[in-house]
Amino acid sequence: MTALSIMRLVPPPGFISSGEIVFEGQDLLLLSQKALQNIRGRMISMVFQEPMTSLNPVLRIADQLCEPLILHMNMSRRDALEQGIELLTNVGIPSAGDRMRDYPHQLSGGMRQRVMIAMSLACHPSLLIADEPTTALDVTIQAQILELLDARIKSSGLSMLLITHDLGIVAERAGHTAVMYAGQIVESAPTGTLLTAPRHPYTQALLASLPQYAEPGKPLPTMAGQLNIRAASAGGCCFAERCPIKTSGCCDEPQQLREIAPSHLVRCWKCS
């Protein structure tokens, strides 16, 4: 939802009630729809979780891939097609010329996600929002896609906002990580710090429940209960209900994000 907000794509009846989204110095919330269209897809682009549902099933790859080029870069169709083939080749799709004539269902999941990435990088955006880009894919394909994104980030100075539930991916790819719980950022720190010295009890519990750190066959430490949005927004700390170190003071007022070390923010009054 944070990602959708940045793109101002929050589905109704939801809306952005307050705050600002500053991108390269301008508040995106103050822009008109028309001005936004220049930003979406061109300056900020997005890759979604499920490449089958985010590609149009009745349009050929060529048509979908060339659309941003024609609209944003004012290319002619012929130039766009040529550019499209190059884009597909760059994301590692073999015989790209033939693939351009295919429909999405003719491609595998990994290939579809490559097409999505090619499309999102078509106009050289400065920010790429990747929402669970590999969740629907096999580990082997996931590694290929993440490698590809990494290479593009390094070569073109692109920034990426990566949304994932897989802490392994975070460990491997992210420079700075924010952990969210019930609509709030509960901890935000450089990835190395976050993974080795987490301070918020939620981050700690999350890391403890991963099988990679546990001894095989032993029960994994788990969090009690489950995310309850209503209880979490009732006032007091959003994690209080499930928190192992909760005391009576926790339920009184909402917690604030505090900086406990340079660029290490925690939403828990017990951490200092």
């Binding site: 580990v139 082997t140 590694a143 490698e147 491997e172 099988p211 546990a214 066959g217 994994l220």
Partner: protein, 324 residues
């Protein structure tokens, strides 16, 4: 066939008919010469990429699909030759948990009724059914007062608990779980893994767990089988497989686990390309087009599963020279 194995399969072969545009029927080979066994009290993991045949294998082992060739033995008896009575018994003793807890529960049945269904079929008296229901729901951590609710009132993790409860109601010996945690959040995933571990002890279960998540298999399984395009490429004790794998495919799978690189060498091991289509299986070793070690023999000759250490087999021509 040895009698000690609870469930075993010899040379399983499974083909699916695929209709093509030109009216000629083609066949997709889902399983080819797959042999495996599950001993009493053991947890066996099956891993591989999507489309490698692991779910097909699970369904055949559970008796939900029939194979085109080869045999499945239950306690040494051929599954297809079981008497009607024994066949019912086999079905009761072999239960399955499915991947998607949203589509595997009947949305119009109260969950209590869903869980009680196997008991009803087993002819358990109504009062006893109620007692059993409470016991099983408590065992998987479902509040007893939720039995009258419908599946849509539950979260994904709770639905998976219902799925497990329903499987346990028949007091099975064998539990076959097809991707039991892959649709769940990490924190919920840990809870379900713990339930499976606990159930294994409490109900003396033998389990077969299909998953593409190797870390989960390493955590809960005694032995792990790695499949590739319908064949077994490696099989060994879980701990050994992770420390000393003997097949380049297993190595690549381990290297691809995000954040797990401490155990593997480098990114060179990452696989290129997609899994080839099961409609056009490469000759020789099936893995050779994606294998960075492939030599001439790999392109022509199909490697056999060879035992390299006790209980550790791998199908690779180069296994000895690569892994010593």
């Amino acid at each position: 066939m040895s009698n000690t194995h609870l469930l075993s399969a010899v040379d399983l072969h499974k083909k699916f008919k695929v209709s093509s545009q030109r009216h000629s029927t083609r066949f997709l080979t889902a399983l080819d010469q797959v042999s495996l066994h599950l001993s009493a009290g053991e947890t066996l993991g099956i891993a591989g990429e999507s489309g490698c045949g692991k779910s097909t294998l699970a369904k055949i082992m559970a008796g939900l699909l029939t194979q085109n060739g080869g045999n499945v033995f239950y306690k040494g008896t051929l599954l297809s030759q079981l008497e009607q009575k024994d066949r019912i018994n086999f079905r009761r003793k072999t239960q399955m948990i499915f991947q998607d807890p949203f589509s595997s529960l009947n949305p119009r049945m109260r969950v209590g009724d869903s869980i009680k269904e196997p008991l009803k079929i087993a002819g358990v008296s109504v009062p006893l059914q109620r007692v059993e229901l409470e016991r099983i729901m408590a065992a998987v951590g479902l509040p007893g007062d939720t039995a009258n609710r419908f599946p849509d009132e539950f979260s994904g993790g709770q639905r998976q608990r219902i799925g497990i409860a329903r499987a346990l109601a028949a007091s099975p010996e064998i539990l076959i779980a097809d991707e039991p945690v892959s649709s769940l959040d990490i924190s919920i995933q840990a809870q379900i893994i713990n339930i499976l571990l606990q159930m294994k002890i409490d109900f003396k279960l033998s389990m077969m767990i299909v998953s593409h998540n190797l870390l989960i298999l390493r955590h809960i399984c005694d032995r792990v089988i790695i499949m590739y395009l319908g064949i077994i490429v490696e099989c060994g004790p879980a701990s050994e497989l992770f420390q000393r794998c003997r097949h380049p495919y297993t190595e690549a799978l381990i290297a691809a686990i995000p954040g797990f690189h401490s155990l593997s060498a480098s990114k060179d091991e990452l696989l290129r390309d997609d899994l080839p289509s099961a409609l056009s299986i490469p000759p020789g070793c099936r893995f050779h087009p994606r294998c960075r070690h492939a030599v001439d023999i790999c392109r022509h000759e199909v490697p056999k599963l060879v035992e390299h250490a006790t209980g550790h087999t791998a199908a690779c021509h180069l296994s000895d020279s690569l892994y010593g």
